[in-house]
Symmetry: C2
Amino acid sequence: IICVPARLVPQVMQDCAIKKVKGVSIISAGFGEADSKGRKLQEEFLRIAKKAGIRILGPNCLGILYPPQHLNASFAPFLPFSGKVTFISQSGALLDSVIDWSVKDNYGFSAMISYGNKSDLDAPDFIAWAAKDPYTKVITLYVEGFSDGRYFLEMAKKVTPIKPIVALKAGRTATGSRAVSSHTGSLAGSYQIYKGVFKQSGVIMADTLTQMFDMARALAYQPLAKGNRLAIVTNGGGSGVMCADYCEELAIELPVLPRELIEKLDKSGKMHPAWSRGNPLDLVGDAGPERYEVALEAVMGSEVYDGAIVIQAVQTSTQPLRNAGILVEVQEKYKKPIIGAFMGGVISEASIKYLQEHGIPNYDDVDRAARAMWVLMECGRHYRRRKL
Amino acid sequence: IICVPARLVPQVMQDCAIKKVKGVSIISAGFGEADSKGRKLQEEFLRIAKKAGIRILGPNCLGILYPPQHLNASFAPFLPFSGKVTFISQSGALLDSVIDWSVKDNYGFSAMISYGNKSDLDAPDFIAWAAKDPYTKVITLYVEGFSDGRYFLEMAKKVTPIKPIVALKAGRTATGSRAVSSHTGSLAGSYQIYKGVFKQSGVIMADTLTQMFDMARALAYQPLAKGNRLAIVTNGGGSGVMCADYCEELAIELPVLPRELIEKLDKSGKMHPAWSRGNPLDLVGDAGPERYEVALEAVMGSEVYDGAIVIQAVQTSTQPLRNAGILVEVQEKYKKPIIGAFMGGVISEASIKYLQEHGIPNYDDVDRAARAMWVLMECGRHYRRRKL
């Protein structure tokens, strides 16, 4: 790890060559991104490194964090929690903010890599590494521009059948891509081309940072869906309707409840007389845990559904913690994906924590829950296609 | 406030008529939404009320909450904080969840109204009330279907030039609107028609619950923008680029920095040599409060910009609380809107609280900040048009 002033870096690189160091991470800034003097310094240390076979991360980067091994080889002030998501970021500032956010939001990472000027190693190299990392289940990527689009395409094609990649591309518009040029000196390239590359290689595109980590959380903790037929179980009619809207917009199917399933639930003696007998399966506002249990058991056990979104609006009879327990149990029993949409707040806080700790991703807003389920279906499709 | 079993409600209504009660709120359920027996009961108490000139909220609703006067005339377990946003909701369950969330998120409301079966009073009546309420600055509305679209259109047209209305319509898709029918017995209607009605009356449409309350927060606490020319000030290049992308997608202009402004900042002695000299105005990662101050002063004082989004990625030299103070001061000085995009987390938490308490809305993700600024510009346009 090199963090001496830029002008001293070539000398340190020379020392590394003598000591037969295999890889270095250069935190120092003031190279290719700064001025012509910096560019020359970068060329100089690169020449030395190439000759000695040294691979380089950076310069002008935050470094590497590897929470499963408690390694913080970066200038970030603290480590995030250990998790199953690797985050590869062209922007160091963004990585810093994400760490700060993740600790507050209880979001875990298996690795975080800020690659700065990518003078040698680039995003595809880190993707290749993450594909082999035993702690990583999902790879997330913030990228402004690629040096070598073809290399990325080849690598991503190899990796996505093994581990999903979710990418956020900045500089998608004319204004944004002008800002990229002024910011990093690299070209953002046409977003249409990126879209094509991502699609061809099975990379999932996110529109926002929140969306990227939302989808990664689902992929990290839930199984992929075997089809796109969803059941929505809810104790709030309105939230159920909104969820159905978002699902239709994402081409998720909501098959009607089969007649035998309606009869079974009617006979259970647990349902409210006014329950919806449809999908969304509305348990009615005063639903206690028994109703959640019998309904969720029914849809998850049915051949008609590939997964479920369970909505909880906190109401007088709601028992958030017991409901959370039911989601965890039923998911373990049927091995199909369940996504929680327990609306967050003071009362529901403990139940949401319970869900997340037991591998059920939960989202405040039903549109985020629908998007999380969509990615499990989309990646499921991708894997099945690759298998054929 | 009536909360006796449904079958007793007509009798209570009779008693109210004798006592010359002017208005009642019926919390009880089991009427029009339940079965034919319930429908008859509803017709019965309506007949009595009409004859006696009694206006009715509900039945089958959560009731009314009025935090500025500490009034909780609902079956929600607690009051939200007092604020400037009225929330009118067709769904009681949603209202319940929103209260729970708002307390955790420090989001204040001037009033919350759940109107259930709308046997008499409907959304437009509550909008008319909120337009006159001294505590309300913004009206938010969750709606599944209108009984009388023309009445809504007329009322909204009158109110939007005085107070902005932000609406979330559920049942926008075929699946969603089928769910509305099964849920409330009312028709959702074509979303295209709703869109037309909203647009014609100057109502802002939200896609999600989060988006609705995000926009309402901006409208409640910041002045409207006088044009759509925005400056982005940031200490993170990547976040600046993403913000520029979202702005372009929302047709927000990002004028380049005027030459005299660049010279002024260059001469200030406060800027990093590598600052962007563009818009986004990138202060570079090690920016302290002095840089934020001189840059924000410059753009807010310039005739070229109608407002600013200020992004803060927490980095080693970042001083979140001092930065927050600068936003508040500069906003008060120039009276143009400022939106914060301080990425939330453990380190930035106190500064975000400071911003919110001093009237600067803050959003975790730059896309939400861009959307909040957009609504200040959009409503500004609407008001100017009405004034002409």
